[in-house]
């Protein structure tokens, strides 16, 4: 902390502004080709192909959904099995106690419910939400990210990050502007 303070304000990264979504995809791809990995892009609406251009490969959400679906299905079935076979066995129209076809509807619904709810919660947590503060909001121009501008931010934590070289690289992408993203020294993000 003290070492960083002597160099001036803490830096989160460098941000470049573009005005066209396709341009952003292309420039993000160039940055990936140049070896940058810890970066993110901010757009007013979902841009097709942007995650791939940033080098995004996979995440945990499908695995969370899959595990939740299996657990929900097994749990839903076992609950009915326990009720009908173990806890309150009642002979209904001579059917077997373990009337598995009839259990399928609730089993199916529990599968979907668990997958949906846990998938949603997992997505929220993996995105580190809820997050009331993020350094990118320190850039005044950044509010345009929710109207009509497109931003690419290379983070300082990237091994290849260098204040001078990375700025030169971003300038070379011909953006509409390059900004330093400051970060409050009592609330450090990396």
């Amino acid at each position: 902390m003290s070492a960083a303070k002597s160099e001036g304000p803490l830096i989160f990264g460098l941000m470049a502004e573009f005005s066209d979504p396709d341009e952003l995809v292309q420039k993000a791809h160039q940055a990936y080709e140049a070896g940058y990995r810890k970066m993110d892009a901010y757009t007013p609406f979902p841009v097709h192909g942007l995650p791939t251009a940033l080098g995004f490969k996979w995440n945990w959400v499908p695995f969370i959904v899959g595990a939740a679906a299996i657990m929900g299905g097994i749990g839903g079935f076992l609950l009915q099995y326990w009720v009908s076979v173990i806890a309150y066995p009642v002979n209904i129209a001579g059917r077997p106690l373990n009337t598995w076809p009839a259990f399928m509807v609730v089993t199916f619904e529990m599968t979907i419910l668990s997958a949906g709810v846990l998938g949603f919660l997992g997505m929220i947590l993996l995105n580190k939400l809820p997050q009331p503060y993020h350094p990118v909001f320190n850039v005044p121009r950044f509010e345009m990210a929710s109207s009509d501008k497109f931003f690419l931010c290379i983070m300082k934590s990237d091994p290849k990050f260098d204040m001078v070289k990375t700025r030169d690289f971003l300038e070379g992408l011909e953006p509409e502007g390059v900004y330093e993203v400051d970060q409050d020294d009592d609330n450090v993000y990396d």
Binding site: H48, G66, A93, R95, P101, A102, M104, V105
Partner: protein, 391 residues
């Protein structure tokens, strides 16, 4: 885009092989007719219902595409049009079913009707003249829809104006056509398959057959599309994203098929009334239950798990074998629907295999002939320009 598109040699070869195998299988099957005519008609019905699901499914999916649009539809529209255009062949193939009515349908046997109060009550609907009249009506409706959609699409190829209103008649016909289609295809499944057990009935039975036809159509599109997607002009439209859409269709139809099949089963299982449970009593005993279990695991479970993965859905070398498996499981499914109506214990005759191969072989060769008659990509559809981006 204006050059006449030649099919790749692989596809032409597929058409020739199919004709050769189809004619060969049918010629040998005629021998079976002289050995055991009753069995011949039963197996023939299986072959007929198996082959019918391709043009019927193509027609239905074509109307869904014309009504709703989307990238997937432009990639296979010409396949669907060609498939629907083969419907007259099925009208011809239906003639032996009519001749075989006495061998197939209990309600057509005067002695059985005289014995059964229930069949007498049903004879207002289940009688031979009305059965034939309905069959003629179904084919007139299906052939007319297929013909109009094909003609208009061929005209659209010539029309360079790209007038957005020119698609309205496709939409209007498809909207009305889909209603007619669901009704006629449902009643066709009632007439030709469900009435094999005339005491039993299920209102969702037709939907199960129609959705099965959807599986058959999408698997066919994946197999033929795979052979066409490597070269112009289809390579520009049937790219890996559109192929992914087709795999999604396969997932949707397989899931929907399992859903309606299980719904029917659950309702009868829970109701547990003697008249309505007969269908499953026969099919869950005597060896038939293993055929049913094969459908559950190979017709739904295994494909469903594979189709969960986006990576696999984008790999033609995985999807094509899966499509072949599902085409085979369609045969297993129809075999399980039809044959237990005649045999209480598991019974597989060589004609059950040979006749479906023969009839669908001839169908495939006609399908590929139809495919050659128009460019492989529909030209000048005003919706086409925007479609690739929106999916």
């Amino acid at each position: 885009m204006n050059q006449t598109d030649k099919l790749p040699p692989r596809v032409n070869q597929m058409g020739r092989n199919a004709l050769f195998i189809g004619v060969g299988a049918l010629v040998i099957s005629i021998l079976g007719f002289f050995l055991d005519p009753n069995q011949f008609y039963k197996s023939y019905l299986l072959g007929f219902m198996y082959t019918l699901q391709f043009p019927l499914g193509c027609l239905g999916l074509l109307m869904v595409h014309q009504l709703a649009g989307g990238r997937w539809g432009f990639s296979i529209r010409r396949l669907l049009e060609a498939g629907a255009m083969t419907m007259p062949l099925l009208a011809v193939l239906a003639i032996p079913v009519v001749i075989g009515i006495p061998s197939l349908y209990l309600w057509a046997d005067p002695a059985a009707v005289a014995d059964s109060h229930l069949l007498q009550h049903k004879s207002l609907y289940l009688n031979v003249p009305f059965f034939i009249a309905r069959m003629v009506a179904y084919f007139i409706i299906w052939i007319s829809l297929a013909y109009l959609l094909n003609q208009w699409s061929a005209k659209q190829d010539q029309d360079t104006s790209l007038n957005p209103n020119s698609v309205n008649r496709f939409k209007a016909l498809s909207a009305a056509g889909l209603i007619l289609y669901m009704l006629t295809a449902t009643f066709a499944a009632f007439d030709w398959m469900m009435s094999l057990m005339p005491y039993w009935f299920s209102s969702i039975y037709g939907v199960i057959y129609i959705v099965g036809g959807g599986i058959a159509t999408v698997t066919l599109s994946i197999i033929v599309g795979r052979s066409l997607m490597d070269q112009e002009p289809l390579s520009g439209v049937l790219n890996i994203d559109a192929f992914n859409d087709l795999s999604n269709w396969m997932l949707a139809f397989v899931s929907f098929w399992a859903y309606v099949s299980f719904s029917q089963f659950l309702i009868y299982y829970q109701t547990n009334i003697p008249e309505t449970i007969t269908f499953y009593v026969v099919r869950m005993a005597g060896g038939w239950q293993y055929v049913g279990l094969a459908m559950v695991f190979l017709g739904f479970g295994f494909p469903f798990v594979l189709l969960m993965s986006r990576t696999l859905k984008r790999m033609p070398r995985v999807m094509v074998p899966l499509a072949v498996l599902l085409l085979f499981m369609r045969w297993v499914g129809l075999f399980w629907q039809i044959m237990p109506a005649f045999y209480e214990t598991f019974h597989l005759h060589w004609l059950d295999i040979l006749l479906p191969i023969g009839m669908s072989g001839i169908w495939v060769s006609l399908f590929i002939r139809q495919l050659k008659r128009k460019p492989l990509v529909a030209l000048h559809d005003p919706r086409f320009q925007e479609a690739p981006a929106h999916g």
